[in-house]
């Protein structure tokens, strides 16, 4: 499997995701945002960080970069796209995913391990997880408060496009287990064609026992065919 990681000025989880991908046997290439051609890849990752400082709106400026046009083309032709944290924000800014990520409800940056539940394990990104499996995974963001309009929300539910929801240790999905105010506790969603996943939690931080746990591993192994 070939992967590409797009690097913007201000990306800062690019090395982390590259390490995780290589550990999972992806053949990975880093792609600088000024480039106009993408190497042939089965998976494109837009990593976390603060592209362009997250100035204006998080993800907005990266959403206008040269390389993004290529990403959009690849997405439309069915390439798998994974946006993590800032990557998710960039995907919503480009319109590849619907909705938006607002400031966390407490207006503070939040970094901690939270629990998420696998709602849909029937996607290319999540098939190695069990349905309703509870994962412990790190979040680190200022703007992770997912918001979308009622119609799209219904669509997300009806078409089973919600992959992860925030929950507590025992799997309860409620306001208390919602760290950032996301609508319906949403932590990660797919597009209708199910080839694009955007998620706020950081699976790349959960692939090494000595650092954390290995709850992120199956996301990457799901992608390996």
């Amino acid at each position: 499997m070939k992967s590409s990681v797009i690097v913007f000025p201000g990306s800062n989880c690019d090395r982390d995701i590259a390490v995780a991908l290589e550990k999972m046997q992806f053949k990975n290439t880093m792609v600088w945002h000024k480039e106009t051609k993408l190497p042939k890849s089965d998976l494109i990752v837009i990593p976390g960080g603060f592209s362009y400082g997250d100035y204006l709106r998080s993800g907005a400026i990266a959403g206008k970069s040269l390389i993004i046009n290529e990403v959009i083309k690849a997405a439309n032709s069915g390439c798998l796209i994974l946006g993590i944290c800032n990557g998710f924000q960039i995907l919503t800014e480009t319109g590849l995913l619907k909705g938006t990520l607002l400031r966390n409800k407490n207006l503070k940056f939040i970094n901690k391990d939270v629990h998420i539940k696998v709602i849909n394990n029937n996607s290319k990104f999540s098939k190695k997880y069990n349905e309703n499996q509870i994962l412990k995974i790190n979040i680190a963001h200022n703007e992770g408060n997912y918001f979308t309009d009622p119609e799209h929300l219904i669509k997300l539910q009806d078409e089973n496009l919600i992959v992860f929801k925030y929950c507590d240790e025992d799997g309860n999905i409620n306001e208390k287990s919602n760290p950032n105010g996301s609508i319906n506790n949403i932590a990660g969603i797919l597009n209708s064609k199910k080839n694009i996943l955007g998620m706020m939690p950081h699976p790349e931080r959960m692939v090494d026992e000595i650092i954390s746990n290995k709850d992120g591993v199956n996301l990457f192994s799901s992608l390996l065919n």
Binding site: G48, F50, K108, N111
Partner: protein, 726 residues
């Protein structure tokens, strides 16, 4: 403009100092030159009051690659790896504008580390606020914490440890000290010393604006009522640009084009150019028209004194300009040749084809004033407190008071606002004795911690100075690291006051003794004087930042209890020293007497023996004992795990409060498996270690026979309540 006394004073210079300037120049300076002198001669840059004392600190050791005097200290951690680290204060700017003050503090210390060729891998901070009930405290705390997070999170370097303390002595003068730690290759360290004639001096990074003009003088001036009105142009941090600058510099450092590199910190272009020239014994000429400016019509004075952030000065090898510029273009940063090295030994400033200032470099550096200020020895109160004469309280209530006090409360409210995990090498985060960071792609790690004890230092500076070094050393040891070296940030009041100068001299005496004995040299640091308002000085607050090495990475030792029914051992002798304790302060508002005595022999012995036990995998968990005493330490081990403890009552000691709350030094609590007890005891005996088996772990409850029984979940709640309700 004719220079008069008022102008001289406004520049923070004494009249005698102005006389020396005239002598050195053999003429009157112009305003630009005066500004440059004021920046270079103030306390912040010249260390004029502290230098003769700092010289006494031990700075050498086999582990030291570079001691004080460079942008940051460098130590050897084996193989080809070096660790580069330093701590710095940003107290006054943070009091004026907490968010930006703290943010730019982080930005500044990061530049000190990556200038030397190191990729920063961890950030720490020591922050001190006034009393929680003081009207300014809450917004200062909020601003400082989000400023630290705002900068570190954005640039993508984990903030992994720190300390947060409240004490009314900081009501009008908070402390914000930031420490950065980086990793470099031993043979790829970059220094600031200029070499060679006619070499290009290159300005890179952000443009220069009218930010913090005279910031360096401000940092060295006492506050008065008007200081909030003075409102110097506050420096705003731009972590995004810093990230670009860092990546660009590290990229340029991959080949051999840099002769010397220096960040523009306090006193910006002035101090960076003077520093490079003076270290190299050269002159430097700058064409100020070339300086990239953000605002229109900036004057040479403004350019030379601006403290705009995210800028660097580089001296390049011949013919490397083109390649270097390419890198900075890639990162969208300014790259301008603004001058060259000369053989004149002068700082020569040209503007519009005219020489607008010319000063001998040595007048700004080696000939800067040096003071041996008067100081007096502390007359410490040797009062003994008799607990029996105090109002009776229950152990449980006393413990709850401590665990729910602002200073001992769980700091997750703060640390959850910092990205602690980015870079994926944080093995142990905030909340333990020391954070543990893996060296990327390697099987080894470093441990880092910052510590201070202002109350101890106030009551007896020599002991206090020794104590913080020991506590810091102990915190690293407690996670299984061999302590290697420290950086220090010396926050004190007005050095022109002989009591304050005495606190400074004596604290340093204590630090020196401890560092020498523990082979724990000082490799970098920072002095911040004039912390105080209207002649009210803060308590002496030296902050120690230590780095230790974990040579072979297995799971590092953390402090939460791991198992049911394992043995709990107290290492070190308990005398029950209760004066200056957190127990007396929180329960009786008594802050009196001497700090606990520091016995360096025991400290070293106990710590080294503990490391031996750890290296033979005999330890399940370990925690050092500090403020709050034995029972506080045990509570902290219980409240983050599902296991409590059943602790025996002391047999010998008369007073149970002194036993459980006394703050005697050189002690640890460890948890070991029952079956390993004989092996562990044997090692203790071989090493002459005093220890006591004080109890066992058990599920759910922390218990002292007949005295206390409390659910660990409740302990956790108690420990978390204060911040959540503040």
């Amino acid at each position: 403009m004719k220079i008069n006394n008022q102008i001289i004073e406004k520049h923070g210079l004494k009249l005698e100092e102005y006389e020396s300037i005239k002598k050195l120049l053999k003429r009157e300076p112009n305003l630009l030159e005066l500004g440059i002198f004021s920046a270079m001669w103030n306390e912040h840059c010249s260390y004029k009051s502290s230098k003769i004392h700092l010289k006494k600190l031990p700075t050498k050791g086999r582990q030291v690659i570079q001691g004080p005097g460079e942008n940051a200290g460098v130590i050897d951690i084996g193989d080809e790896d070096a660790i580069v680290f330093k701590i710095e204060s940003h107290n006054h700017p943070s009091f004026i504008e907490p968010y930006q003050g703290a943010a730019t503090g982080v930005g500044g210390i990061l530049r000190d580390v990556f200038t030397m060729g190191a990729r920063p891998i961890a950030l720490l901070n020591s922050i001190h606020f006034g009393s929680p009930s003081h009207i300014k405290t809450k917004s200062l705390l909020n601003g400082v914490v989000s400023g630290i997070g705002g900068y570190g999170n954005c640039i993508g370097i984990p903030t992994v440890a720190g300390e947060t303390k409240f004490n009314e002595t900081y009501n009008e003068n908070i402390l914000v000290n930031a420490m950065a730690v980086g990793h470099a290759k031993k043979n790829k360290i970059f220094y600031s010393k200029a070499k060679g004639l006619n070499k290009s001096v290159v300005y890179v990074g952000s443009k220069t604006g009218r930010d913090g003009i005279h910031g360096a003088s401000m940092a060295s001036a006492e506050f008065d009522e008007n200081s909030e009105e003075k409102k110097p142009t506050v420096q705003v941090g731009d972590p995004f640009t810093e990230k670009l600058l860092m990546e660009a510099c590290l990229e340029l450092m991959k080949d051999n084009s840099i002769i010397s590199i220096q960040d523009m910190g306090a006193a910006g272009l002035t101090s960076s150019s003077v520093e490079m020239a003076s270290k190299g014994g050269l002159g430097i000429e700058l064409k100020l028209d070339k300086v990239p400016c953000r605002e229109e019509n900036m004057t040479p004075y403004e350019m030379m004194l601006s403290e705009s952030q995210e800028r660097m000065l580089i001296i390049l090898e011949d013919d490397k300009e083109k390649e270097a510029k390419k890198i900075f273009d890639k990162w969208d940063l300014d790259f301008v040749i603004i001058g060259k090295t000369t053989d004149t030994n002068n700082l020569t400033l040209k503007f519009k084809n005219e020489v607008v200032g010319e000063i001998p470099i040595e007048a700004l550096a080696s000939k800067a004033p040096l003071y041996d200020r008067k100081w007096s020895k502390k007359n410490s109160r040797k009062n003994k407190i008799n607990i029996k004469s105090l109002k009776k309280i229950k152990i449980e209530d006393a413990l709850i008071k401590i665990l729910s006090s602002p200073n001992h409360s769980n700091k997750s409210w703060i640390t959850n606002q910092y990205d602690q995990s980015v870079m994926c090498d944080t093995i142990q985060k905030s909340g333990s004795d020391a954070a543990v960071i893996r060296i990327h792609n390697k099987d080894k790690a470093i441990a880092v911690s910052v510590d201070s004890s202002a109350n101890y230092c106030k009551s007896h500076p020599i002991t206090g100075g020794k104590q913080i070094v020991c506590e810091n050393w102990r915190n690293l040891t407690a996670v299984g690291a061999k302590p290697l070296a420290i950086t220090n940030c010396l926050n004190f009041g007005n050095p022109e006051n002989k009591e304050i100068m005495g606190e400074f001299a004596e604290c340093l005496e204590g630090i020196k003794e401890a560092c020498e004995f523990l082979n724990y040299p000082v490799v970098s640091g920072n002095v911040s004087f004039y912390n105080g308002t209207n002649n009210k000085n803060i308590y002496p607050t030296p902050v120690i930042g230590g780095v230790g090495l974990i040579k072979k990475l297995s799971q590092p030792i953390s402090h939460n209890f791991k198992k049911d029914n394992s043995i709990i051992i107290l290492i070190g002798k308990t005398f029950g020293h209760i004066e200056q304790s957190c127990f007396l302060k929180e329960n009786y508002s008594i802050i009196d007497g001497m700090p606990p005595e520091v016995n360096l022999v025991n400290e070293k012995n106990n710590g080294e023996c503990l490391l031996k036990l750890m290296n033979t995998n005999l330890i399940l968990s370990a925690h050092d004992i500090s403020s709050g005493g034995l029972i506080t330490t045990i509570s902290e081990m219980a409240l983050t795990s599902n296991y409590g403890a059943k602790i025996n009552k002391p047999k010998k000691l008369t007073n149970i409060f002194e036993y459980f709350f006394g703050e005697d030094q050189a002690r640890y609590v460890i948890e070991i498996e029952r079956k390993n007890l004989p092996k562990v005891e044997k090692i203790f005996k071989e090493n002459n270690i005093y220890y006591e088996n004080i109890g066992i772990t058990q599920k759910n409850y922390l218990e002292i026979q007949d005295e206390l029984k409390i659910n660990t979940k409740d302990l956790f709640k108690i420990n978390n309540e204060w911040y959540n309700n503040y």
